[in-house]
Each structure stands twice: as structure tokens, then as C-alpha cells.
Symmetry: C2
Subunit: 185 residues, 2 copies
Amino acid sequence: MANEAGALCISSTNLAEFIGVNSCQIRKDFSYFGYLGIRGSGYNIEKLIKKIKSILKITVVQKAALVGVGNLGSAILSFPGFAVYGFNIAAAFDVSPQKIGKKINNVKIENISKLWILKRKKVNLAILAVPSEAAQSTTEKLVKAGVKGILNFSSCYLSVPKKVKVITTDIAMELARLPYYIPAG
Amino acid sequence: MANEAGALCISSTNLAEFIGVNSCQIRKDFSYFGYLGIRGSGYNIEKLIKKIKSILKITVVQKAALVGVGNLGSAILSFPGFAVYGFNIAAAFDVSPQKIGKKINNVKIENISKLWILKRKKVNLAILAVPSEAAQSTTEKLVKAGVKGILNFSSCYLSVPKKVKVITTDIAMELARLPYYIPAG
DNA sequence: CTCTGTGAAACCTTTCACAGCG
DNA sequence: CGCTGTGAAAGGTTTCACAGAG
């Protein structure tokens, strides 16, 4: 049984169709996680979610800091989607005196010079939404504050020690990928 | 000669180091574009940029529409980064009467029921920043309005005709990828 | 009979290593 | 001598096809 709300299981064929890939892709990938399907019925959805969350290490609530409360940063602070994956924006920082002290979505904006408190607060993850010019220097402060993972929204390459992981997502570049697929006319 | 500001050429080794990949990767990839390097000196930077822009079809200014002027949508409207790739946000749409008629960054927010004007305005690209519940139905309206490419910020899969290209970028999912790389402790 | 899990085959990407141009 | 461009080798991923569990 593999269908809409209330279903306990989903087959590789159904799941593949749903996300637009081939069904053996799903089976091969899941097989690397061990035996988690039931022959004849498919994959138990709850078990699958638990397994994926445990692989991604998002079983417990993860604290993240936001650095740079401009337009994008404010949008991120108000973004409801993080809760789905169990994220909690535990702190926000900016340089602008007009912003420091204000609260957005119940998170108080701190002076960026106080980044070191992340170490004490045991915040491992940071979302970097500062202008490109400030990206590398802010990254270095984050690394000093003990941050181990950075989600970088600036369009530049960040140089970090090997133990720190950076994921860059450049909105303008994503948009720039679209015209390639569109026939002229 | 391949170095800082003012340089005309960059070698595969330099470029590779700069973006964190292997140099033969660069040479092999560029070789598919034809002969564009100069043995002994490297790749002419200006020529390289032109070539990449022509492949991506971003040599002329591309018009894009924004749909959904919430927190994220407003941030996108004020985002200066699109100009780098020659994008122009030519129109913005929302459902909320409080927002319709207002201007952000010199773009007037229109009623979403007027999406059809995109056809007349020859806008091929749309940035979708509406709540997940509205994503599929808004997509269908965009397709009817002749949009050929959609940059989707909602976390859901969009079903579209084959001739339409969707690129999804889920901010929360990007953040969810980070903990995997971080050793427990 | 349905659907998983998996070897084997096909396909694709990355790296090596070097001939040869500027 | 420096650096590109490229065959060949290595490495990785996707698809096929089917045995066998439920």
C-alpha cells in the first residue's frame, strides 16, 4: 500500500515517480543504508524518515546562528521552513547600530563583535548573509568562534580550515542556470 | 601571467586552486567548448567569460518575474546580485491587497490575477517565492502565461510540462545538509 | 503476484600522463 | 619551459534484469 495521506508504506516506483527519478535509483541508494524495505509492500515511511534523519545527523534540534540581518537575513529569520528539519535560529548578528537590539521573530540582533558567544552557546552552524566584501572576514570570525558548518549566501568562495564545511548557495547563479534550458524564440 | 586584478589570462592550475578543484577538470571541461586556451599562458579571462555567458544564454539582458512578495520575495526584489548576470526583475506579483500597488526597488507589485501580462511582456523566467500550498497552482498559472523557466524557492516538487524547466532551491534543505559533515562532539 | 535487493552491464566523470604548441 | 588539450586508465553512478522474500 503506497499512496496519499495515512499510508504506512511507499514503494520505490511510487517514490521515484513522485520526485522524478528512476525506481532502481531509489532501491540502490536505500540498499546502502541496509535492509529497510519490505518485499511486496515497499518502505515504511516513518522508519525511512528516521533513518534519513539519523544519517544526516538531524535527529536532535540543531542550533544555528544568522550573521547579517539585511533583506535576505531578515527573510531567513522569519522563514518558517527550518523547523521542518528541526533547526532553531539561536542567535542573529549584524554590524548596523540601527539593527542591534531589535528583535525579529523573537530573536534579538546582537553586535557582530559578540560572535564569540557562539562558542559558549555551543552553536556549530552559521548562516552567512553578509555582503560579499565582508564574507571572508566574517567567516574567519565564525571559525574562531568554533563554528563547524557555514551556509554561505554570498557569491564568493570562502577559504576555511579543512575541519569546517561550507555549503554555498548563490541565488543569482541558480537563476543564471535557467536560460540554458530554454530554446531561443 | 595569471594573477590578481589586471591579469589577462589565468591558467587552469590557478583557476582550479581558486575554486577548489583539480586542474585537469578545468582543462577537460573547457576543451569541450573548443580551443580557448593559449599554450604557455592559460585562458584569456574576457574570452572565457564571453564563452560561458554565450553557453548559458545570458549574453543579453534577461527579464524575470517575481511571484510572491513575502519576506523572501521582498529580499529577492532588493537583491543587487542579479545584475551581475544581466537579469532584470521586470514584474512582481502577490495576492495580498496590502502589497498590491506598492513599489519595492522600483518594481510595482501587481495583482497575481494579472500574471497573463507576462506573455505580452515576453517574460520567460519566473522566481517563485509563494507558500508551499500555493506553489503548484501558481506554477500552472505561470505556465499558462508562457513562462519557460521557474526558479522555485518552495520545498515542493512542481509538476510542469516537459518544455518548462524548474530549478528548485530549498534553503532549509541546504542547511540540513551541513550537520552530516560535522563530527559529533 | 508485488516489490525489494543486488550482481552485472552500460554509461558517465575524473584523474593520469604526456605529446606538442607558444 | 609553461601550459593546453587529450587519449587511456581509473573510479563512480545509473540502469538492467531477475532471484527470491512477503
